[in-house]
Amino acid sequence: MKFAIALYSAAHAPSSRRALLFAQAVLADGHEIVRLFFYQDGVYSASNNIVTPQDEQDITRQWREFVSQHQLDGVVCIAAALRRGVLNSEEAARYQRSAVNLDAPWALSGLGQLHDAIQDADRLICFGGP
């Protein structure tokens, strides 16, 4: 089955971890993830300047490694990301901001990517809230 997974919460929210565990289970069971789409505070789950205490789960690193390892299509909504200060080098240069906190494997793109994934997938599974 083809899954699209949307995440609306930051890395410190348990729902971000649940989304990651679900995504891992999807692949482990032989299904396909057509796209991950991070929206609203979900853009923080892709930020690479989150520093997690050593004895806690580093969810942003785990997300990054998961997406890289399986060469998934990891899309972060550009409008939601700009609003929350999650910028790749291109956007940081465009808006003359000093910090870059998003890079590969994540791509910044628009809401069309969410609709495209919804059309392509058999199931859309959303994670948000606490």
């Binding site: 949307a6 609203q40 969410l114 609709h115 059309q119």
Partner: protein, 116 residues
């Protein structure tokens, strides 16, 4: 045939970007001519209240964006009757009020649902 999507908007317009971001999904879908429905529920029904003065809380008015729904071909706009009632709001002209049975049917009718 395109899959249909119902967006359920549950946040008040002044409670952060959620109401705007729910609407953005709907408008983006409309721009792609996709079959999209929008349901206002819980505090989301505050988005439909008339005579709002967003500037008083230093916010941008969402009303203009709501009016864009029609331009984007989004005709299926609904509001939860119960949510309106408990907040003392009248049924708005811009959305079709639905009881809980009708909302259950609505959820069945759409292929996918996003709740924000």
């Amino acid at each position: 045939m395109s899959k249909s999507l119902l967006v359920i908007s549950r946040q008040a317009p002044w409670s952060g970007p959620s109401a705007r971001e729910a609407l953005d999904i709907v408008l983006a879908g409309g721009a792609f001519d996709l079959p999209i429905g929008l349901l206002f529920m819980d505090d989301g029904v505050f988005q439909l209240a008339s005579d709002q003065n967003a500037r008083a809380v230093q916010q941008k008015d969402l009303g203009a964006n709501l009016q864009a729904l029609e331009l984007f071909g989004i005709d299926d706009v609904f509001a939860c009757n119960h949510s309106l009632e408990v907040r003392g709001l009248n049924a708005p002209a811009s959305a079709q009020g639905l009881g809980s049975d009708a909302i259950a049917h609505l959820l069945d009718r759409y292929d996918q649902v996003i709740t924000l």
